[in-house]
């Protein structure tokens, strides 16, 4: 499974529940939905990644990126 972030298209923000249902149908296991931003996070089998992008109302699907701060004792943060 791969962690992904999804942006819903402007013209589908009013139909978020329907887009979510279609995303789940396409294989997305939803972690969280940021309604005010029109974004969705979750995980999907790597082989189904392309299916998410094809869901109507999806603007973009990206693999989730990670962030790492230096340890607390580092001088540059």
């Amino acid at each position: 499974m791969e962690k992904v972030v999804v942006a819903v298209a402007d013209d589908h923000l009013d139909e978020l529940p329907a887009v979510l249902a279609d995303l789940r149908q396409a294989g997305l296991v939803v972690d969280s939905v940021q309604e005010v931003l029109g974004t969705v996070t979750g995980s999907v089998d790597a082989s189904a990644f392309g299916k998410l992008q094809a869901v109507p109302g999806v603007a973009v699907v990206q693999r989730e990126r990670g962030f790492q701060l230096p340890p607390p004792d580092a001088d540059v943060q």
Binding site: K3, A7, S32, Q34, L37, T39, V60, Q62, E64, L69
Partner: protein, 397 residues
């Protein structure tokens, strides 16, 4: 381009009129000074303004609400008296001679650093000279959380939330406590210099990085959504992931940032620490600060030079928008250490977030685009490449 000179004037006067009072203003100028004015409102498009101006005593620039008049000393005195009274005339000033710009304005000599009372960052950004406090403005700091029992937070409005599974908001790293301190911390601690920019702002500390300093896109989006939902006008994100030259910005974060702005929230993020300028290497702005709708902040040190580590503008997008103090920055740290000095664009970013909150406090109706514009408008220009410092060193209102 032209440049106003200090003292040389033309003998004419500029009269600033109250908004939407151009016609009434022309009447009053006639009454108090006996001047007959032409008005651009009467001109057909493309009419020769210079010719019209030559035939009348002056010209009302209708669209600007300004009249340019030729007046003798007694007439000018009459206009000045009228400006002091209620009515359509607001300001009268002599018209200045302007000339093409010659050489650049010399940079002021950097002053010696004295942190007895306030950090150098508060001084360099003019926060020490501003009357603004950020009171009533909600600032979200999305980071490693906050030492919620830090004594310097006593009496402050603090709202917290953790987006890290299994970890409370209490800061087990220190980074978040340092960033909250710079953006919103104390001005008059019992000992040591004051260090907080928007020292009366409401603090919204969202934990999107774990105690080990790690996080991911999903938690950060959740943190941004929390800040937007809670009416935070400013989000400070001292976090980023390195990018490669030519790598496109995240369209998901760009969409999210645009929607956050539509709902009243400005997102400010660290440009990144990936450069090694002493070795000639300038790294591109990291993710997500490289999104056009997220303000990217680089770091300068006290002598005004770009910090060696500060990421720069490498591509046609992903530019550095502003810089702020990011070297030897003194701020709060989890107890019992209490205070600590750190370097990084992570330290520069909360300076700008605090300054945005100061502006927000002065302009309660200002939306995120206006905050962005005012930050860029008022930034002190530096004699350094715009690719490194954007519009320059962010300043308090």
């Amino acid at each position: 381009m032209t440049n106003p000179t200090g003292s040389e004037t033309t003998g004419r006067y500029l009269v600033l009129l109250e908004p939407d009072a151009a016609a009434e203003g022309a009447r009053v100028i006639s009454q108090v000074a006996g001047l007959q004015l032409a008005s651009t409102a009467d001109f057909a498009a493309g009419a020769a303004v210079a010719e019209q101006l030559g035939q009348a005593d002056g010209l009302v620039l209708h669209e600007l609400g300004v009249a340019v008049v030729t007046a003798a000393a007694d007439q000018a005195a009459g206009l000045t008296r009228a400006a002091a009274d209620p009515g359509p005339i607001r300001i009268v000033e002599p018209e200045r001679v302007v000339r093409a710009i010659g050489s650049a304005v010399p940079m002021a000599e950097p002053a010696a650093i004295d942190e007895t009372k306030l950090t150098w960052g508060l001084q360099a950004t003019g926060a020490d000279r501003s009357t603004a406090t950020g009171a009533g403005v909600r600032v979200a700091v999305l980071d490693t959380g906050l030492d919620v029992k830090h004594p310097d937070l006593s009496g402050r409005t603090v709202v917290t939330n953790s987006f890290i599974s299994g970890e409370p908001v209490q800061d087990g790293h220190g980074h978040g406590t340092h960033c909250v301190g710079t953006s919103c911390g104390l001005r008059t601690p019992a000992s040591g210099p004051g260090y907080g920019v928007a020292y009366k702002a409401d603090i919204y500390a969202g934990k999107v990085l774990s105690n080990r300093g790690s996080g991911a896109d999903g938690g950060i989006l959740s943190g941004i959504a929390w800040a937007v939902t809670n009416g935070c006008r400013v989000v400070s994100m001292s976090l980023g992931a390195p990018t490669e030259p030519g790598q496109p910005y995240s369209q998901v974060f760009e969409q999210a940032a645009q929607r956050a702005m539509q709902r009243g929230t400005l997102i400010i993020a660290a440009a990144g620490n990936e450069s090694e300028r002493t070795a000639g290497k300038v790294a591109p702005v990291g993710h997500p600060a490289n999104c056009p709708s997220i303000m990217a902040v680089g770091a300068v040190e006290a002598q005004g030079q770009v910090a060696s580590f500060s990421s720069g503008t490498v591509d046609t997008v992903g530019q550095v928008d502003l810089v702020a103090p990011g070297v030897d920055v003194y701020s709060s740290w989890p107890m019992p250490t209490r205070y600590r000095r750190l370097n990084g664009t992570s330290m520069a970013t909360p300076h700008v977030a605090g300054l945005a909150a100061l502006i927000g406090g002065l302009y309660p109706q200002a939306g995120p685009y206006e905050l962005w514009a005012r930050l860029v408008q008022t930034a002190r220009r530096l004699s350094l490449p715009s690719t490194d410092v954007g519009a320059g060193l962010a300043q308090a209102p």
